[in-house]
Symmetry: C2
Subunit: 160 residues, 2 copies
């Protein structure tokens, strides 16, 4: 099973492709934090982010798509723009026949650290132990995408 | 100028195509209330709605895309799903190089009735006077899409 996982945003998009064949450890095929230019309009940035997801789908042909369930934050305008960006990304996944899974932040914490109240540091530390990352990761969004992908692998990628 | 206007939703999508050539009255080229099956998942419905917008864009080749600015409602889960649907629709507009305009509900009321506090009935009545609709319209969503298209024509489609 090849998993495309994203931490969606119109400013920064965390994106990861993880391979889980059921018997071996998960393999990280690709990860990145794709960024857009704050000087561009929200529309341009939404368009660029969704095209980037389409590009990665075309290159890696994943089977499933995973992202975190969105909850409301204090900044409602940002939340709406993030939701719109999620929708444009979801379209790419659905239009390429990927099965879509969403996980709550607690489900991601439990899957990665075994504990629903783990902090950011604990999650990053466990992600490094669970999967081999042969690069330096600068932004949390990229780590978050990998964590979501590992959650999907743990829940839906069990050995048969 | 050919305007594609939508009242976005994953349950019902109001959609209208209006032609405004600057000298004559606006012409309604197409309008519909596209509905999805409540038994389908949200993902399926989002996908269907955005494909319907893509179909109408391909058929009518509009120049601009108009929709109402989204504000928060009491039901936040619904608002997020509507925002995600908007994002998937926005992608279709952007990917076809349409210029995107958003209008607040008050701007639509002022453009259509000349009064920012007009009620639904006044808007429907004025829409009927402003544009020739040769069909029976069942859902408000379709009327709303036409009203948004007329707003776009009034603001951006003036005679040169």
């Amino acid at each position: 099973m090849k998993i495309l996982a994203v931490d969606p945003g119109y400013d920064r998009l965390g994106i990861a492709v993880i391979d889980k064949n059921g018997t071996t450890k998960e393999t990280l095929l690709y990860s990145d934090c794709y960024t857009t230019n704050p000087k561009d309009t929200f529309y341009t940035r939404l368009h660029q982010v969704s095209l980037e997801v389409a590009r990665v789908i075309e290159k890696y042909s994943p089977d499933v798509f995973a992202m975190e369930t969105l909850f409301f934050t204090k900044n409602q305008k940002t939340a709406l723009h993030v939701a719109e960006t999620r929708g444009a990304i979801l379209y790419q996944a659905l239009n390429n026949n990927l099965t879509v899974y969403e996980y709550t932040p607690i489900a991601v914490k439990i899957a990665v650290t075994g504990y629903g109240k783990s902090d950011k540091k604990q999650i990053l530390s466990m992600v490094d132990k669970l999967i081999s990352i042969n690069k330096k990761i600068k932004y949390d969004d990229e780590y978050d995408a990998i964590a979501i992908g590992l959650t999907c692998a743990a829940i839906h990628g069990r050995a048969k």
